[in-house]
Amino acid sequence: MEVVGSVKRVAGPVVHATGLKANMYDLVLVGKEGLMSEVIGIAGERHIIQVYEDTSGVKPGEPVKETGGPLVAQLGPGILTTIYDGIQRPLPLLAEKSGDFVSRGLFVDGIDHKKKWEFIPVVKKGDIVKPGQSLGLVQEQLLIKHKIMVPPRHKGGTVKEIYSGNFTVDETVCELEDGSKLTMLQKWPIRVPRPVNKKLPPSIPLRSGQRVIDGFFPLAKGGTAAIPGGFGTGKTVMQQTLSKFAEVDVVIFVGCGERGNEMADLLHEFPELIDPKTGRPLMERSIVYANTSNMPVAAREASVYTGITTAEYYRDMGYDTMLTADSTSRWAEAMRELASRLEEMPGEEGFPAYLSARLADFYERSGRVQTLGGEEGSVSIIGAVSPPGGDFTEPVTQNTLRITKVFWGLDTRLTQRRHFPSINWLESYSLYEQDLEPWFTENVDADWVKNKRRAMAILQENAELEEIVMLVGSDALPEEQQLTLEVARMIINYWLAQSAFHPVDSTATFKKQFDLLASLLKYRDYAFDALAKGVPIDTIKSTPSKDALAKIKLEEDYVPVLQNVLAQMDAEFKAMK
């Protein structure tokens, strides 16, 4: 029997209602228009409800209907390439129903229930299937096979009947002996992590194609990274670059309280961008959740959970997935806004006291895992943080840094010099470095670790020297140190700086990253050698091959070019007396 309650009070996105039996986090429908809402508190007779849509016009006395369960994400074929709002309503379908502006009280399924998909079974009659096990395949996109699995909370059993052919997501594709009928659709509550067999160690790097990241501060598959930075430091470009070039199977982009035009840009660009590895449009492996800053704040709060649930679902099929959330600060602010409407006792800077717990819960849903079905998959999370005033001591940044293992600190001074990616190489860190070193040594080059340490040492020394230079000028330094400054400048400008918009330079293979850095270090060795032999520093600094090194990164087929330059360098230094 349907329980109907009644609205008692409306204050912005928060509504109080009486006469309900709903549980915490159950989905309810508020008012005559049936606005999607969630129970977030129960106080005596009253249910406290957050509404995912604008509440203008809602009056006390209007009905509140129960749906009998929590907010769920619909999981099945057809999710990829879709752009959703924060509560998994496809935005193009909303536009069909309500035009260019998002209106209220609309119900749209997360996936198309009418479309037929070709289901190819991989189990046969009589097989025993377990939760998480694959029953069959659907070619969702050209390169992505969607595995139809036994839902995690289902107990499994013996296959009585398995069908093959074209089905909608609601039609039965498999019957079990115990009479249960399985479809291609799973529904999963967004706030509950999907179960796995076990978590695996973070020992494989997630290639980003960005030299400063892969070289200095690598992320592991299944890892977590935070990108804090004031506005205009390049967070969004960084996230978009990672979504484009990171070596993963599925990318989930959560635009959480960010700019509409940026989302438009992304939606415009992704279908046109070709994945360098597969030659297919990037959109085919992407899912976008767009809840812009002027869309309802409660849906913004939900958007990261909807996003991570989808990421976990694809992980369960054995894929490497990456979720980028831009920005987790807006998510935290949505929590704060709702907490303040609930008149909760505020913690630090007005944020609710459960801020750190919520952040931890979210980031813990990452990981490289063995799935219930026995496959290996991963969810990596990259969260942008927008600290007010660029102040990293504020609660969201601090709580995030306590949980995430990689910190890519964006630096305003680098942005102002148009040095991108503006990741500060002295402040950033990656706690996966140790875990990943064996992989790099084995798969890229035995000198990977050594070269990286050498380069870092030069940059460290450079930072110290620069302080002295600020006081006495560079000419007052001994010649060795002047040369170190020069080499550091080369590493910074030729290697660390990487244009996100250049057709070639925007991404680099591990091998190219390594070769470029090795060539710079080679120059350093030659240069110090020559200096020791008494060659004047100005002669060393003005070797033509040095300038040629600057532009190798822009070459698609860089190997012959690099060899030429190295040969030239060798000849030039040999000629020095």
Binding site: K59, P60, E62, P92, N261, A264, A290, R417, M470
Partner: protein, 466 residues
């Protein structure tokens, strides 16, 4: 529905608390009649069976417990018709030019629904403002929201006016309108704007909302919403390209804080309410272009940073929403440079989609990056030169220092009426870069150097002549 109540229980600042009534909708428009017969308008902020909280836009002065309250059953709407162009209205949308009330063809809710992100078209039409620091290094595109962050006593208004005067999309002559919203600015500043609009004929294609410094502060919360509702009508119903200038957002935020304090809300940073980000976003995000529609909304919010502090919540939260910012610098202003836009902290996020081949010129990005890099380095070197003296610098450093000085005088500095084309701006950029040796132009592809560097460009021209 139109019952009148005489049950005001409490009046606190801009809020009134009304008791015992029929159910009232959240956000409903409220009319309050004073004993003198004068009407004020307000909006429901909190509604329950027992008590309704109303925010009064025109201030609570003159209200008493004897005043009557009528709930209209409707949310606040803006009357709109093509005749609105050329009108001067108050901050709450009433005629201020002595003209008749607007006869509405259509009425729109002023709390605009969000544009569906999937329906947005990507802004990419380059707007030439004729100002080098904008066109060259912080390019504006149609549909963008680019605020001017300034300080008290700086010529931000002149910059905004110059943009309004000169802004055009090259090779297009399309219907164009300006919506100007003044929030809490002085009468003198308003006069300045009006005089310039009149002088250039802009007034005939403008809609002006004036909430001056002595008008009620709460009214200011309404002004940008009215202005943007009008802008959406002009852009998406009448196919016009609309430029919205609103000044001063700082006053708007002060009103927001005042309301928050009156409602005894838990304050966020520096006493501003925790929802200020969301509130600002509901204004700023109403810029853009919709797929299949001809018109567009481009926004120029102006805000003065209290104490020139860019980390203050108002510029800070704005910067997180807007697509970049133009920073007016006191230092450059003191040097007598106009427009004193400091390009280092300034940024246009949509620049890339509006420049390059087919928009401006293929070398634009590279030239801009190179200018930025050496100007920023030059500014850093000034600090060093002040300590050790210019003489102690290396030759390279001296050159960059000289570059930075020339950059300010030649590139940043320009006349208030000077309307530079983008080609002129890029030519100035190349002239400046040509004082550096070619090997220092590491951010520019060789192929562009060979075409646009004055050394080769003049050689190519000479060749053409022979």
């Amino acid at each position: 529905m139109t019952k009148e109540y005489k049950t005001i229980n409490e009046i606190a600042g801009p809020l009134i608390f009304v008791e015992k009534m029929e159910p009232v909708g959240f956000g409903e428009l409220v009319e309050i009649r004073m004993s003198t017969g004068e009407m004020k308008r307000g909006q429901v902020l909190d509604t329950s069976d027992e008590i309704v909280v109303v925010q009064v836009f025109e201030g609570t002065g003159g209200l008493s417990r004897a005043s009557t309250v009528r709930f209209t059953g409707d949310v606040i709407k803006m009357p709109l018709s093509p005749g609105i162009i050329g009108r001067v209205l108050s901050g709450s949308g009433r005629p201020r030019d002595g003209g008749p009330p607007i006869v509405p063809e259509i009425e729109r809710e002023i709390i605009g629904a969000a544009i569906n992100p999937a329906q947005r078209a990507k802004p990419r039409a380059f707007i030439q403002t004729g100002i080098s620091t904008i066109d060259g290094t912080n390019t504006l595109v149609r549909g963008q929201k680019l605020p001017i962050f300034s300080g008290s006593g700086l010529p931000h208004n002149d910059v905004a006016l110059q943009i309004a005067r000169q802004a055009k999309v090259l090779g297009e002559a399309e219907a164009f309108a300006v919506v100007f919203c003044a929030m809490g600015i002085t009468n003198e500043e308003a006069q300045h704007f009006m005089a310039d609009f009149e002088r250039t004929g802009a007034l005939e294609r403008a809609v002006i909302f004036l909430n001056l410094a002595d008008d009620p502060a709460v009214e200011r919360l309404l002004t940008p919403k009215l202005g943007l509702t009008t802008a959406e009508y002009l852009a998406f119903d009448l196919d016009m390209h609309v430029l919205v200038i609103y000044t001063d957002m700082t006053n708007y935020c002060e009103s927001l804080r005042q309301m928050g304090a009156a409602r005894e809300e838990v304050p966020g940073r520096r006493g501003y309410p925790g929802y200020m980000y969301t509130d600002l976003a509901t204004n700023y995000e109403r810029a853009g272009i919709i797929k299949g529609k001809k018109g567009s909304i481009t926004q120029f919010p102006i805000l003065t940073m209290p104490g020139d502090d860019i980390t203050h919540p108002i510029p800070d939260l704005s910067g997180y929403i807007t697509e970049g910012q133009l920073i007016v610098s006191r230092e450059l202003h003191r040097k007598g440079i106009y427009p004193p836009i400091d390009i280092r902290p300034s940024l246009s996020r949509l620049m890339n989609s509006g420049i390059g081949k087919g928009h401006t010129r293929e070398d634009h990005r590279a030239v801009s990056d190179q200018l930025y890099a050496y100007y920023a380095e030059g500014c850093d070197l000034r600090g060093l030169a002040a300590i050790v003296g210019k003489e102690a610098l290396s030759e390279r450093d001296k050159l960059i220092l000289e570059f930075a000085d020339r950059f300010e005088r030649r590139f940043i500095n320009q006349g208030r009426e000077e309307d530079r084309s983008i080609i002129e701006t890029l030519t100035i950029g190349w002239d400046l870069l040509s004082m550096l040796p070619e090997t220092m132009l590491t951010r520019i592809d060789d192929k562009y150097i060979k075409v646009y560097h004055p050394k080769y460009a003049s050689a190519a021209k000479a060749e053409e002549k022979t």
